[in-house]
């Protein structure tokens, strides 16, 4: 394990150091004193495990393809943005635009999330233990969002594909979002996911999907179309 004191490094130096250590095969990296700074652990493409002791700012653990990052604190806006593969765990609360445009992997927030969690999500799994804010899942295109607590107004607004599960109250559905009965196997999968994160309250989750009344696109991307 390698310890890095973030207070002694610029953000560029810190991220460069992380990339070097991950490329060298360092299994675990421990970051101290992040002091809610932005852009910590960004652009990491090698598999490794990183623990950040304290709160981070915007875009933490974003543009990643592989690492597992645990943050013992809060996060600002856009935690786990554009995650391709790997895992991000946050022990406290996240700001707005959590896991925006993520394409794979898993983001878990033990506390609450701000507005627009999972905006433009294109894959992977976003799990929020607490409440989620305004327009959660806005324009999501794929993937799964699970919210253990309540969700705000406009959930699933303009979603194309993907599924949102809400354990608590729903402020309101967004445009073109609808409630659909969750199957037993889907509920079991949701419960098992929550239990993996230490949440054992087996709630009756509400499933939200696109009503597809505004759906004027096919679901394949350019390269996928070529393959078909």
């Amino acid at each position: 394990m390698v310890d890095l004191d973030a207070s002694a490094l610029t953000t560029t130096e810190l991220n460069r150091k992380l990339r070097e250590l991950a490329a060298q095969g360092t299994e675990h990296i421990h970051i101290l004193n992040p002091q809610a700074r932005h852009n910590i652990a960004v652009g990491l493409l090698d598999t490794c495990s990183i623990t950040i002791e304290g709160s981070v700012g915007y875009y933490a653990a974003s543009l990643m393809d592989g690492p597992q990052v645990t943050i013992n604190g809060n996060a600002g806006w856009a935690l786990g943005e554009n995650l391709m593969k790997g895992k991000v765990v946050l022990t406290r609360n996240a700001g707005a635009s959590l896991a925006s445009s993520m394409r794979g992997g898993e983001v878990f927030v033990a506390g609450n999330a701000g507005a627009r969690a999972g905006i433009g999500m294109k894959g992977g799994s976003l799990v929020i233990g607490g409440d989620a804010g305004f327009m959660t899942g806005f324009m999501m295109q794929r993937g799964t969002i699970i919210i253990g607590g309540d969700v705000g107004e406009g959930v699933g607004d303009s979603m194309y594909e993907g599924t949102i599960y809400v354990g608590g109250e729903i402020g309101s559905l967004g445009s073109d979002a609808k409630i659909e009965e969750a199957s037993e196997s889907e509920l079991i999968q949701v419960w098992e996911t929550m239990e993996r994160h230490g949440i054992h309250d087996r709630k009756k989750f509400t499933k939200i999907v696109s009503a597809k009344k505004l759906y004027h696109f096919d679901s394949l991307e350019r390269l996928e179309k070529r393959a078909v």
């Binding site: 932005h38 304290g54 700012g57 943005e81 925006s100 705000g152």
Partner: protein, 316 residues
């Protein structure tokens, strides 16, 4: 109109902050100036065009503190003499005065109508009125918070509460007068810092001009200050005025208002602009980002992120 939303996800335009020392009026004033400068310094990535603070709760042997800026720095001393003459002409007296570059500050004894006095001062050519307050003053300048502190020695100013702003201008001009905070001319001690854009600015401005208000700038944030002051002048409490603002103002905004005895914030219905707040038994700190709160609380904190349409006030 202060900032531009760079995309769906995150903006880095303009930073706001506030600090409230809940016990300061009974247990002694706090280093509000130093705290605001530290918070704004940490938000420099959100804007370096200009910086400003309102600091409240100072105790002066006067009725009002007036803060002015004179376009021609070389005329500042002469203009101060003219301001003093106007104060005397309107039945007041000057307790203390100072001139720093083009900035004029004077403490006065005055029992008359503040609006009439302000109007008379503004007739002086090249003079701009930044604030008239019973216990507060607005200090603002172009450049970073550190630049402002170096020039105006904000670090040493004590108070009970205050608000601050760093600006990244994209639409209205960069100059001292378009810096935040904006005073709610002519209501003493009401000022606002704002991150966002109001889309019904022209409509509301015309409405208030029809009612007799005079705006000092073309900045939409000034409208928020006047809006709130007008509501409070007509009997609303700050909290109710903020709720009303969420209903009546269109656009994206997060703003913090400061009054003689408190601070309050409001956030638009789209939750489009960032803000976090933390509170202890003694202190409330609010800022665009947690990185600024950590200048006040170096250790890990519990902080709340206000959501769409949220309003909260603290009165001391």
């Amino acid at each position: 109109m202060d900032d531009y939303e760079g995309g769906l996800v995150v903006c880095f335009m303009c930073g706001i902050s506030a600090i409230v020392h809940k016990m300061a009026s009974s247990e002694g004033l706090a280093p509000v100036g130093r705290e605001l400068v530290a918070m704004l310094d940490s938000l420099a990535h959100r804007g370096i065009d200009s910086s400003g603070v309102t600091i409240c709760g100072e105790e002066f042997p006067a009725d009002y503190i007036i803060r002015l800026w004179c376009e021609g720095e070389q005329d500042a001393e002469a203009q101060m003499g003219r301001v003093q003459d106007i104060v005397s002409e309107y039945g007041g007296s000057v307790v203390a005065s100072s001139v720093t570059g083009g900035y004029l500050r004077t403490e006065i004894r005055y029992g008359g109508d503040v609006g009439r006095l302000a109007e008379a001062i503004l007739k002086l050519q090249g003079m701009h009125l930044h604030s008239i307050g019973r216990n507060s003053e607005i200090i603002k300048d172009v450049g970073t918070a550190a630049d402002m502190d170096g020039k105006h020695s904000i670090d040493g100013i004590m108070g009970t509460h205050g608000i601050g702003h760093v600006r990244m201008a994209t639409e209205s001009r960069v100059d001292i007068n378009h810096s935040h905070p904006f005073w709610a001319y002519p209501f003493p001690d009401v000022s606002v810092v704002h991150n966002g854009q109001l889309t019904n600015y022209h409509k509301l401005t015309r409405k208030y001009e029809d009612e007799g208000y005079t705006f000092q700038t073309e900045n939409d944030s000034e409208l928020i200050a006047v809006y709130l002051a007008d509501k409070m002048y007509k009997g609303m409490k700050l909290d109710d005025a903020l709720h009303s603002a969420v209903d009546d103002l269109d656009g994206t905004f997060t703003f913090i208002a400061s009054t003689e005895d408190g601070v309050g914030y409001a956030k638009d219905r789209w939750s489009a602009k960032p803000m976090v707040a933390t509170e202890t038994d003694d202190v409330v700190a609010i800022a665009s980002e947690e990185i600024a709160l950590r200048r006040i609380f170096p250790d890990e904190i519990d902080r709340a992120e206000p959501q769409e349409g949220d309003v909260k006030t603290w009165l001391i």
